[in-house]
């Protein structure tokens, strides 16, 4: 068991090191593969951060361009996904600074009724109805959570990141991450309670 854990650790290190080497060379094939591999996770993170699909898609492209330009800064010691998300986080922050809204929620397009719309892939009418209901519940619930807390909830529960990784990504202490998770969960409480009833 120890040997398996060690070999998987070595494999992970090798993979991260390979990515670091490829990024230093600006290898286009590697970048294509990385975009394919992390497309959904990055978009989901940006979507929850911004609350707007069009903005998230713009930032998605901007993030990958920045990965290309800043790739030499990735040393392969941390997980690539953590580094990628931190680039996405910085791109989103830069976007906010340019627009200088008072909160991330202001980025939400008031005419966009369905900011968290998932892609349709030929589902049945029943699937669509269930998905729509889930989406409405989700939108309503998540809109109650302030963006600062929403971000850590997404990283903790969707991306399954460790608290230390989240802290490193957002550059805040672990204690603050825990507080934000707690307050985010509490902000969701009315919706969760309502859904349970």
């Amino acid at each position: 068991m120890v040997a398996t854990a060690f070999s998987s650790l070595v494999a992970m290190e090798t993979e991260e090191a390979q990515i670091a080497r490829g990024l230093r060379r600006r290898d286009p094939d590697l970048l294509d593969a990385l975009i394919e591999q992390y497309q959904h996770r990055l978009l989901r993170y940006l979507l929850h951060l911004t609350g707007n699909r069009a903005t998230a898609e713009d930032l998605f492209q901007e993030t990958w361009l920045r990965v290309l330009e800043k790739g030499h800064l990735y040393d392969g010691r941390n997980r690539f996904v953590t580094w990628l998300m931190s680039i996405g986080h910085n791109v989103a922050i830069d976007h906010l600074r340019k627009r200088s809204p008072s909160s991330l929620d202001e980025m939400k397009d008031p005419e966009d009724g369905a900011p968290f719309e998932p892609e349709a892939g030929g589902p049945s009418p029943l699937d669509m109805a269930v998905a729509r209901q889930q989406r409405e519940t989700f939108d309503e619930a998540i809109s109650r959570v302030p963006p600062l807390f929403r971000e850590v909830l997404v990283l903790r529960f969707q991306e399954q990141m460790k608290l230390e990784e989240i802290a490193k990504l957002i550059r805040i202490p672990v204690a603050t991450v825990k507080t934000r998770i707690y307050r985010g969960v509490m902000a969701l409480r009315p919706a969760l309670k309502g859904g349970a009833q």
């Binding site: 970048l31 290309l68 892609e119 989700f138 619930a141 399954q160 990141m161 460790k162 825990k178």
Partner: protein
């Protein structure tokens, strides 16, 4: 029950599922949750939050991925080209500095020798060589001022076009 116990419980609940939580801590949490309704509620809320966030699938469209890949490839090609150009300019600059240093020394010697042969005063040698040295740059600058860049480009384009017409006929 002390605040410390609640804090410990919340810490373990927050870490469960993503961090390594010791079996000892898990056992302690279970016994704590059996006695503390507040922490038990928080644990249930954490579970529901995870379910809620994982319930809605967000996927990137194929078009978005393809566009991103194309933009990244184009930018990578542009950066490689830029990098190659920077290297070329740096090498050219170094060669230029080396050759001009060597030739300056040579021209200084030649100028001194010529001045000596002609019998010019030594005070004329340095300005004379400097003028001779700067003459090509001065001529080019005067020419560029007299004939603006777009004019030169246009006349060059016209010359090329005329040449092509001549080839066709």
């Amino acid at each position: 029950m002390s605040n410390h116990e609640h804090e410990r419980a919340i810490d373990i609940i927050t870490r469960q599922g993503v961090d390594n939580v010791a079996a000892r801590d898990t056992a302690w949490l279970e016994s704590h949750l059996a006695q503390c309704s507040e922490c038990a509620e928080y644990a249930a809320l954490v579970g529901s939050t995870g379910q809620l966030l994982r319930a809605v699938a967000v996927t990137a469209s194929a078009a978005l991925v393809a566009t991103t890949q194309a933009r990244v490839r184009a930018r990578a090609a542009h950066l490689r080209e830029h990098q190659a150009r920077v290297v070329l300019i740096a090498v050219s600059f170094c060669i230029g500095v080396l050759s001009s240093t060597a030739s300056a020394w040579l021209w200084w010697k030649v100028g001194g020798w010529v001045a000596e042969r002609i019998g010019l005063p030594t005070s004329y040698v340095a300005p004379g060589i400097l003028l001779f040295w700067a003459l090509p740059a001065i001529v080019i600058a005067v020419l560029m001022l007299a004939f603006p860049h777009h004019g030169l480009e246009q006349s060059l384009m016209l010359a090329v076009a005329r040449e092509r017409e001549g080839e066709k006929s």
